[in-house]
């Protein structure tokens, strides 16, 4: 082992290699790594942001859905109520119509009965007058006794 010029040559090589690494190898590598670190950090932050946004919108959607569900229930109940009301109204109207018709029929019936009774009375009266006429033959002058006959007719 003898120290000689080799030492100087190796020192020069060493200096050149160090200079080269300092100048051309380390900085671009560092830049790439730091840039990637920043990208990853940004990505993680964005993911976190997205997660919270999703959570928030999920909560919002849930609120909207439950509100809609409530409103739908309300509308359904209202519709049911309205339906029942309509049926009741229809029933009431039908009943009133029926009553009205029944009353009309009854009135007509009564009128017819009274008419029939009237015509019956007239006929009975006529029969009675005819009978009396037959009995009295000529004695009874229809014209003379008309007043009496109509009185009799009314009493029957």
């Amino acid at each position: 082992m003898n120290i000689n010029l080799t030492l100087v040559a190796q020192a020069v090589s060493f200096a050149i290699f160090i200079w080269f690494t300092v100048k051309f190898v380390w900085p671009p590598m560092l830049r790439a790594i730091e840039q990637r670190q920043k990208q990853i950090a940004d990505g993680l932050a964005a993911a976190e942001q997205g997660r919270t946004a999703l959570e928030r919108s999920n909560r919002e959607a849930e609120g909207v859905i439950s509100e809609a569900r409530g409103r739908a229930t309300d509308i359904l109940a209202q519709a049911e109520k309205r339906g029942i009301q309509l049926i009741e109204e229809a029933k009431a109207a039908a009943r009133a119509e029926a009553d009205r018709e029944r009353a009309a029929a009854k009135a007509e019936l009564e009128q017819e009965i009274s008419q029939a009774r009237e015509s019956l009375r007239e006929q009975v009266a006529a029969l009675a007058v005819a009978g009396a006429e037959r009995i009295l033959k000529r004695e009874v002058d229809a014209r003379v006794h008309a007043a009496m006959l109509s009185d009799l007719q009314k009493e029957l």
Binding site: L5, A9, S13, F14, A15, L30, R36
Partner: protein
């Protein structure tokens, strides 16, 4: 191995531990270990070039396989530096640590290549008789790295604390500012400044050199007969597996010490 049919153990080991040299001037200092320099350059260009290629197409989006691997290494180094150095590590300390780790790891990993097969290739393909392939098993390489770190240490010490602060620390730390303690402080600091590059470089060098020697001894045994071949192969495999740990561990320790020394230079006492 050389072309001679018989080779003594001394010649065998000596052959594997002889550098390919070039003489650039008078005196032993002007010898250049061409193999260490070339292998170190190849490893550095491969390693740093791979990192550079990965950063060329670096995207902040989904990384490709190569980029993911480089980012793994990057993150590992960055984490280590973050725990030790509290300052703007991205401007120098962390990239320097990455360079040291990748480069030293690759240079250490040359130890995995089987020496005799590689020697044959160097001999017959490249016509190189002596070629040591592990640059970190050459004390010049480890010393070059440790001394560079040492100079960086002093540079940052002066840059952060100023010349006055640096000299003040030499005399007043760690025992205190009393004038009577100045010699003791100075002595302590000198010992520290001398021991740092020595321990830094020799730890790596010793480990890699010893690993090489143990491989060589095992291959020597493997050449002695059937039993030697069997046991040499088994022990060689074992040592190679253990060596994976040493190679990575020594690269890691060398990088950590670099970071620690540079971090200490930034701290004021």
């Amino acid at each position: 191995m050389s072309s001679e049919s018989t080779l003594t153990p001394t010649e065998y080991i000596g052959h594997h531990l002889t550098n390919f040299t070039a003489q650039t001037g008078q005196g032993s200092f002007w010898t250049l270990h061409v193999d260490s320099v070339v292998m170190a350059l190849v490893m550095g260009v491969l390693g740093i070039g791979f990192l550079w290629l990965a950063t060329r197409g670096a995207t902040a989006g989904v990384p490709g396989r190569r980029q993911a691997f480089v980012e793994l290494v990057f993150g590992f180094i960055d984490d280590q530096v973050k725990g030790i150095f509290h300052g703007d590590r991205h401007s120098f300390v962390a990239p320097a640590a990455l360079t040291v780790f990748v480069w030293v790891l690759l240079m250490n990993a040359m130890d995995f290549l089987p020496v005799d097969i590689m020697a044959w290739i160097y001999e017959h393909v490249f016509h190189l008789h002596n070629w040591r392939q592990v640059p970190t098993a050459d004390v010049n390489t480890t010393f070059a790295l440790a001394l560079s770190v040492w100079f960086l240490m002093i540079y940052f010490s002066i840059k952060v604390k100023g010349v006055g602060g640096f000299i003040h620390e030499l005399f007043c730390a760690p025992f205190g500012g009393h004038p009577l303690l100045w010699p003791a402080n100075l002595l302590f600091n000198l010992v520290e400044y001398i021991s740092k590059p020595l321990s830094h470089s020799l730890r790596l060098y010793g480990n890699m050199y010893a690993g090489e020697i143990i491989f060589l001894l095992l291959w020597l045994w493997a050449a002695t007969g059937l039993a030697g071949t069997v046991f040499g192969a088994i022990l060689g495999a074992g040592w190679a597996i253990f060596h994976i740990l040493i190679v990575v561990l020594q690269a890691f320790i060398f990088m950590m010490l670099t970071v620690v020394y540079l971090a200490m230079a930034h701290e004021s006492h």
